[in-house]
Amino acid sequence: MTEEYFIQGNEACAKGAIAAGCRFFAGYPITPSTEIAETLAHDLPKVGGSFVQMEDEIASMGAIIGASWGGTKSMTATSGPGLSLMQENIGYAFLTETPLVICDVQRGSPSTAQPTMGAQGDMMQARWGSHGDYEPIALSPASVEEFFYFTIRAFNLAEEYRVPVFLMADETMGHMREKMIIDEEKINIVPRKMPELTDDYLPFEHVENGTTPMPAFGEGFKVHITGLTHDERGYPDTNTPETHSRLVKRLCGKILNNRDKISSVFSQFCDDADTVVISYGSPIRAVIEAVLKIRKEGKKVGYIKIDTPWPFPEEQVLELTQGAKNVIVVEMNLGQMYWEIERLLKEQNNVHFMGKIGGLLPTPDEIISKINEVEGK
């Protein structure tokens, strides 16, 4: 069965969360993400879920970590200023391997800068915002329909790898309305893998694929959860170098070793392209419009749409840009994913940057000018 909607990206995210099985939301409303909280406040109780408006974003992260350990799929939604406050508990969620989803609808930054204007200034904060070594997963939707399906995928990845997953949207994505077709057959839900309750059960066991099934409180498991370095039972062991090294390497490894399953891109016209334009989130729509237009004029230009900024789809991007002379990275900041791409491709391509801040989407004409400028060199 399919259903058609004409709704905002933020509403699509909320609907995706419910379809994915999310039954707990804690958050502090902030523009331009508020409609996610608003929609879930309205819809969660109807499916037996709970919505809590917390006193701030620090508490919101604490609440969803707790709810997740209670066995409930949980999420929060915020924007840059809130994401800053969440960082300490985000690190705690990584070390305690707590599955949850954090949606960041990015606005002009730093600080509280531009509440109602779009930006992509938090991409590196999603990567490195909390202290220490960890490997995040982040998805960037570029249409209302994608926001729905990417939210489901975010919950699925969170459960599969027992990690926090970021949905990195932007104001345009959050507030834009367009047609969304939900096809029930395209919805695939990953339920939480429950461990077997045995005497020698270890909640933080070093299993081969890196991800141990997660127990829930109230199901008979005795679990100790701590942000300190812990052994496989979950008890602190902070002074043994091997314990720490083994733990953190496993946490990073479970993402990096599965990069090919997690990372995804969409691309067109890269086979014969002299120039490949790379972008993600709402600016990719300007890129696609620009590329389709100048392709008609015979220019050999292709594009790559990055669906998962983290872990960065290194292999796919390296391969798709193999024959290109130039690569242009388009994003709404002064250079974030650009540095990741430059690091990756500098031996292979001339990597150029087109960044726009101020709140407005780059236009197709601006992108065409940049392509012409780069090719004229």
Partner: protein, 182 residues
């Protein structure tokens, strides 16, 4: 074919709802593609408000309006701010009760702009008795002038978008706006 529509005025005039109705009508009820975007300040009311709708019969990549085919101004401030973006031979629809089209007469003449005056605020007050439905009166006028969305689709979208219990007044407002244009 891509049609770009920009509606602008003050926050509180229902500018964004007007755009949602047009987008919903085109996409869900006419079976075309539509994208609606908006920009507004942090104020709840009184700040500048802008709503954009792109309608096409094929998939829309770039969601924003660059040079509108149709500009609807419900405040003089908005008219002066956005008139320069309007396409040559484009269409300008103004509410004469809240705008002074003479202030942009040079641009209109120079770029062969078709101008329609739709007294939406006055019609809303006199015909419906509610100033608040001026946006829906304007939707009626836009529907008649633009010809890119069917009347039936817009009526369905109005019914689907306004608060329950207000459908009748809003449909009356739509019809009054539709009738304003020859």
């Amino acid at each position: 074919m891509r049609t770009e529509i920009r509606i602008c005025g003050f926050g509180g005039q229902g500018i964004i709802l007007a755009g949602i109705i047009l987008g919903k009508a085109a996409s869900l009820f006419d079976g075309n593609e539509a994208v609606q975007t908006q920009s507004y300040g942090p104020e709840a009311r009184g700040g500048a408000s802008k709503c954009e709708v792109v309608i096409d019969n094929k998939l829309i990549e770039y969601p924003k309006v660059q040079n509108p085919d149709i500009l609807i101004a419900m405040s003089n401030e908005a008219l002066l701010k956005y008139i320069d973006d309007l396409k040559d031979e484009g269409t300008l629809i103004v509410d004469p009760g809240t705008t002074d089209v003479d202030e942009v007469r040079d641009f209109i003449d120079e770029h062969n702009i078709k101008v329609y005056e739709a007294p939406a605020t006055q019609t809303a007050m006199e015909d419906i008795g509610l100033k608040i439905v001026a946006n829906i009166v304007m939707v009626g006028a836009i529907t008649k002038i633009s010809k890119v969305i069917s009347k039936e689709a817009v009526i369905k979208a109005v019914e689907d978008s306004v608060p329950k219990g207000t459908e009748e007044k809003n449909i009356a407002a739509f019809e009054a706006g539709y009738a304003l244009i020859e």
